[in-house]
């Protein structure tokens, strides 16, 4: 398959044009055990909103996707750096384990859902349920997030430079949430918490890692009140 041939010397990025090559061939090439030796940099053109682009990567490769992607782009990512030069559909970087995923545009629902690790940066805004059930990932959103973001978030950090929609952090466990703008409402058991120096430091670190220029002191912190951790009849209405 000509589109996937790469030179022996990994200087030039491998280029895959999805108007000629299928997502299956792209992913198979990216899953090859020696992918990083063949080409550590990949350019994917004409993604045209296709689903499941660059999913299940498990190597230190740099994948640049030039355009918009559909559902689950970079799903379950490990080690790789994936950049979407456009908008991303539902579940970008879902269940990511490590590596970095960057969306230059906006992201649809459930961005970074259940992700265990790595860094997800959405330079634009993210829709509802951003960071739902997050389990250790760091998510930095340059714009706003929709309702129910960080729902049941278990671990990791969600940084929102703009505003947050309704029910932020509903039923959150140990995930930490930072929002610079307005929060429409907090979900069950989510409360505002004091920003201490260690929080300012971690926030500055996250903003720096994300390459987003924002003032850490302008953020407020939210997290679990831990009142719903064990069922108590007097809290029944909160469930």
């Amino acid at each position: 398959m000509a589109a996937l041939s790469t030179s022996d010397v990994a200087v030039e990025p491998a280029v895959v044009d999805l108007s000629f090559t299928g997502v299956r061939e792209l992913n198979a090439a990216l899953h090859a055990p020696d992918v990083a030796d063949k080409a550590s940099a990949w350019r994917v053109t004409s993604p045209a909103g296709r689903h499941s682009i660059a999913v299940g990567l498990d190597a230190e490769v740099d994948v640049r996707i030039e355009g918009h992607v559909g559902y689950y782009c970079a799903g379950m990512n490990q080690l790789a750096t994936v950049t979407v030069e456009g908008n991303a559909g539902v579940g970008v970087a879902e269940n990511m384990m490590s590596g970095t995923v960057r969306v230059r545009g906006n992201a649809s629902q459930s961005a970074g859902a259940t992700a265990h690790g790595g860094l997800l940066v959405v330079e634009g805004s993210a829709s509802a349920r951003c960071g739902i059930s997050m389990k250790g990932v760091d998510i930095v959103v340059g714009g706003d997030v929709g309702h129910m973001s960080a729902f049941m978030g278990q671990a990791g950090r969600l940084v929102v430079c703009g505003d947050a929609g309704d029910a932020l952090g509903d039923s959150v466990y140990e995930a930490r949430i930072y929002v610079a703008g307005a929060v429409k409402s907090l979900g069950a058991d989510c409360v505002e918490k004091e920003v201490r120096p260690e929080h300012l430091a971690e926030l500055a670190g996250l903003l720096h890692a994300a390459g987003i220029d924002a003032d850490a002191t302008s953020f407020r912190r939210y997290g679990s009140a831990r009142r719903l951790y064990n069922f108590h009849v007097d809290n029944a209405s909160a469930y």
């Binding site: 997502v23 299956r24 992913n27 198979a28 899953h31 689903h51 499941s52 999913v55 299940g56 498990d58 559909g70 559902y71 689950y72 799903g75 379950m76 490990q78 539902v90 579940g91 879902e94 269940n95 384990m97 629902q109 459930s110 859902a113 259940t114 265990h116 349920r129 739902i132 059930s133 389990k135 250790g136 729902f151 049941m152 278990q154 671990a155 039923s171 466990y173 140990e174 951790y229 064990n230 069922f231 009849v233 029944a236």
Partner: protein
């Protein structure tokens, strides 16, 4: 003479008293306890003049089954259609998972992980391991996805269609908490909906993603709790499932509200023919395999499922009983917990004297995984042989050759649900509707 009310019987009164006392609903393990139409309400028509039986022990009656050969490079080849249902590490001890793996591998069948991820105990012992993909995604790990032999997307369970999971704080030990990324000792709620897809159109895309991640090697199962089975099976098959796992309302659970177990979902018997009809109408019966669970106890149940069109069955409760759950030897200990051998269902509580549904190291040490595995293998062998006995009597050289025509029903309800005639008549009530 004392007269007990049928409406306010002693169990009902006790439950009202308990609710008033505690202010919380009753959570328990096991499946529905009420009597519902079930496989016991069906009988086989053995061969006689018009049918030719096979000679037991001499003429072959095969039991093998291939699961997931529609799209996957490596479908599962099992020696028996009796598989082990998904039961989580967390609900069960690591040693119980190991025992399940040992028993299943001995007889050439599969086990299934559960909420809470894949353990080395189970992966190590299970020749064929199905990895569940649940709404909670606890411990979901692409390395485990790749290490699995099949992937099961769980939409629901028969005990609680529409419900999420629950693992009470006393079972969240350090290891369980670590695998689920949760603080120790919290009541763990698993979501009832998947976090990154909603309807059947999304499911199709999700299945596509899972196939892409695993390079189309592994069969993808979809598990549903029996409720709107006809439509759910059609939608799951259209979404690309290779195998559909259908769990009826009698299906066991580790921890669910009693009201949910007893009042939501439909019996396995009522759901199975709907699933088969749905697959037949799509031209996918036997291409998309159907695994049925919920109250499967013996070879007769297996044979009846096969005759109604299932490709395989899955057992949960029966497997735990084989490992030693509810053993009469433990009666005294069960009584100390307010139960008795044959009645114990506090699988949510973590104090299981049999060492199966617990995370307490001392209790768990009571279960010898080798001996437990052997007992499970025995049970599966017996179930398989019993099904063969029936199939041969019906003249069938493979369990899958059993057919509805081999069955009659003992009750009008069972006849209507199973869509076979009431015994001694040619009457199938309810034909003409779904």
């Amino acid at each position: 003479m004392l007269r007990e009310s049928a409406t306010f019987d002693r169990a009902t009164i006790a439950e009202i008293q308990r609710a008033a006392e505690t202010g919380i609903y009753d959570i328990r393990g096991g499946g529905a306890k009420r009597r519902v139409p079930h496989f016991d309400d069906l009988l086989f028509l053995g061969a006689s003049m018009s049918r030719y039986p096979l000679e037991g022990y001499r003429e072959r009656c095969d039991t093998d089954v291939v699961l997931g050969d529609r799209h996957a490079t490596y479908p599962l080849h099992l020696s028996t259609p009796v598989t082990i249902a998904g039961m989580s590490f967390g609900a069960l001890s690591g040693r119980a998972k190991e025992a399940l793996g040992r028993g299943a591998s001995e007889v050439g069948t599969s086990t299934t992980t559960g909420d809470g991820g894949m353990t080395p105990e189970e992966r190590g012992q299970s020749k064929h391991l199905v990895y569940q993909y649940l709404p909670s995604r606890y411990g979901m790990n692409p390395d485990h996805l790749r290490a699995a032999d099949a992937i099961e997307v769980v939409l629901g369970q028969g005990a609680k269609p529409g419900g999420g999971g629950m693992l009470l704080g006393q079972k969240i030990t350090e290891r369980v908490a670590g695998m689920r990324t949760l603080p120790m000792g919290v009541d763990q709620r698993s979501a009832c909906r998947h976090p990154d897809w909603t309807g059947p159109d999304d499911l199709e895309i999700k299945i596509g993603e899972l196939r892409e991640i695993t390079d189309w090697e592994k069969p993808i199962y979809v598990k549903i709790g029996a409720s709107r089975t006809y439509y759910d099976v059609k939608l799951a098959a259209k979404a690309g499932a290779d195998v559909i796992v259908l769990d009826g309302m009698q299906g066991g659970t580790a921890a669910t509200q009693d009201v949910f177990i007893e009042h939501v979902g439909i019996p396995t018997l009522a759901a199975l023919p709907q699933a088969v009809q749905a697959l037949q109408e799509e031209g996918l019966h036997r291409q998309v395999q159907l695994v049925v669970s919920g109250g499967i106890r013996n070879g007769a149940d297996v044979a009846k499922c096969m005759a109604l069109g299932a490709d395989a069955v899955a057992i949960g409760t029966a497997a735990l009983v084989a490992l030693g759950d509810n053993s009469p030897h433990l009666d005294e200990e069960y009584r100390a917990l307010g139960s008795a051998a044959g009645f114990y269902d506090d699988w949510q509580a973590g104090r299981d004297p049999a060492g199966i549904t617990t995370q307490d190291d001392e209790l768990a040490a009571r279960l010898d995984p080798v001996a437990g595995g052997r007992r499970l293998a025995n049970l599966i062998r017996v179930m398989t042989m019993e099904a063969q006995v029936i199939a041969r009597a019906c003249g069938k050289a493979h369990l899958h050759s059993l057919e509805p025509e081999d069955l009659v029903a003992l009750t009008i309800e069972a006849a209507a649900m199973a869509r076979v005639p009431l015994a001694g008549t040619s009457w199938i009530p309810g034909q003409g509707g779904l």
